[in-house]
Structures are given as C-alpha cells and as structure tokens.
C-alpha cells in the first residue's frame, strides 16, 4: 500500500519539478516529514533562546549605555549653564547627579528618581520611592539614600558590586556638592522581600543611630534574580564643587 502511494507521489513530483531522489525525500512519508519539521522547530527554538541571551547580556547594554550617555550629557550641559549655588539645583527631571564607585570600575552612573523597570532600563541607578522613600543627600536631616541598578544587561551598572569591599569610597556628585561616603557593611545575600535594608536606620548593617547613609541594592548571583546584594555606606564629608569640578581625592 505504502509503496504504491509513494510511487504515485514520486511520479507526480517528478513531473512537476526536479529529480526523483529529491522528490522521494520530500513529502512522501508523513512521519519523516513530521520528524524533520519538529527537528527544525527545535533547532529554531534553540537559536531563539541563544539570541535572547545575546539580547539580554549585550544588546540591552548597548541601548542603555547610549541612553544613559545622552541623559548624562544633558545634565552636564544644564549644570554648566546654570550658575553654581543658583536656582536649578533641584531640577531633577533628567536625573539628580552621578554616582562614582571606583572599586566597581564602571565610571559614573547617572542617578534618577524611581526604581521601576522603565527607569532602570536606561542604564541608570534609581533611588527608591517605593516601598521606602529614599532620603536624598541634598535633603536636610538624616536618612538613607537607597539606590538600585541592574547587575546584568541594561547597562549593568552594579555588575561589579561584589568587588566593593569595606572602607571603599562611594561618591555622589550633584551640581554643587561631592558627597563622599565610605562603605561600612555588606550583605552578600538577602531575600528580595527584605525591605528593612532600605530603612532610614538600616539596623541589619549594624547601625543604631540616625545618620547619613547610602544603600546600594542589586540582584545576586549574577545572571539571576534569586537574591539581593546590599552595600551600605556612611557619609564621611561633603565637598563643594569648585569651578573646575575637581573631583575629591577618592576619585583621583
């Protein structure tokens, strides 16, 4: 039965287009056809997953770095145009300043408001507004300046957070001031629900009194979002920005 059908098909194909051996490989056996289509679909799925890795770990960085560069330049321009000490220091639409962490070796990181995906995907660090409101260093009084950024992809601004050790400086640059912090505690793994790390007085870091703290959060281990990595710093001093924008000695 099968042979007959195959022969008929072969003949038909043969007349339509091409030589007989090719025709026999094609469409003659439904099972073989199904297997080859399934195989090709599986190969395709593998390639798509591979492309997704390329997308997440490379392309999103390209896009995010481009965006962050644009926004960073805009802020630098705004700062250059407005006189130091004058109005405009609180204009925070494009971002409030730059974070410098020399031990992460990633240059300056633009800091913007919010930690939603939309904000962070532009290759910036965002300060928390939810679930805990971060206290900006520019604000009066004590509090915790809590930030988040991506570990991988989308600029991967906190990729090297594990290279930060106790005593390392964290410098936050605004239009008029350099805020120099010193890392005093690190939590290399915590639950993603642990919002206490963001508190105004982060007790888990060992402090008990109100102060000027900074908290960096990101995901860990790399390439996953299973846990959170937290680095705490405390304000050491505040330098005024001079006319040449000389960085504090920690950044030289």
């Amino acid at each position: 039965m099968k042979t007959v059908a195959a022969t008929t098909d072969d003949t038909a194909e043969h007349i339509e287009d091409g030589p007989a051996p090719a025709a026999r490989r094609r469409g003659t056996r439904p099972l073989a056809l199904a297997v080859s289509v399934l195989g090709e679909l599986l190969i395709t799925a593998g390639l798509v997953l591979g492309l997704f890795v390329v997308y997440s770990l490379w392309w999103t960085n390209v896009i995010a770095d481009r965006k962050a560069d644009q926004q960073g330049h805009r802020i630098r321009d705004e700062w250059a145009q407005s006189a130091p000490g004058g109005p405009g220091a609180l204009d925070t639409k494009d971002g409030i300043g730059f974070l410098h962490v020399p031990s992460m070796r990633n240059g300056e990181v633009l800091v913007k408001k919010g930690t939603s995906t939309d904000v962070l995907n532009d290759g910036v660090a965002g300060y928390y507004t939810d679930p805990v409101k971060a206290t900006l260093p520019t604000a009066k009084g004590t509090g915790n300046f809590a930030l988040a950024a991506h570990r991988d992809g989308h600029g991967a601004k906190f990729h090297n957070i594990d290279k930060v050790s106790k005593g390392d400086p964290i410098v936050f640059e605004t239009r008029d001031k350099w805020y120099v912090y010193k890392v005093y505690a690190i939590l290399d793994e915590t639950s993603k629900f642990n919002v206490r790390v963001l508190s105004a007085v982060p007790r888990e870091s060992g402090v008990t009194k109100p102060g000027h703290y900074i908290t960096l959060t990101t995901c860990t281990p790399v390439y996953t979002s299973r846990y959170r990595y937290v680095v705490w710093g405390e304000l050491v001093r505040v330098d005024k920005v001079d006319s040449k924008r000389t960085p504090p000695r920690e950044l030289r």
């Binding site: 997440s56 679930p131 988040a148 639950s191 959170r228």
Partner: protein
C-alpha cells in the same frame, strides 16, 4: 520547513541566499525590537529591587 521555504523562494541559488539572509535579519530585528522586550519582564532574570510583592 526551511527546505520548503528555500524551494519557494524565487531566482537562482544566489538570489535565494540573499533573500534568505534578508528574511533572517528581519526575524532577528522583530525579535530584538518587539518580542524580547516584551518577554523580558515576564522572566525572572532581572529584578534588582527589594520590595513587598
């Protein structure tokens, strides 16, 4: 499947190869521009914040 596409492309082998390349590029573009950005937030690889949810 791919054999079927190849046979239905017009022209000789060179034209077919060129059209195939363009098709592949179009697919990669659609994936990078629309599909992956849509899929990424649904996958648990890039949540960096601590929160209550």
């Amino acid at each position: 499947m791919y054999g079927w596409i190849w046979r239905h492309l017009p022209g000789n082998a060179w034209v077919k190869a060129l059209v195939s390349t363009l098709l592949v590029l179009a697919v990669v573009y659609v994936l990078f521009q629309y599909v992956f950005p849509w899929a990424e937030p649904l996958l648990p690889f890039n949540d960096v914040t601590v929160d209550n949810q």
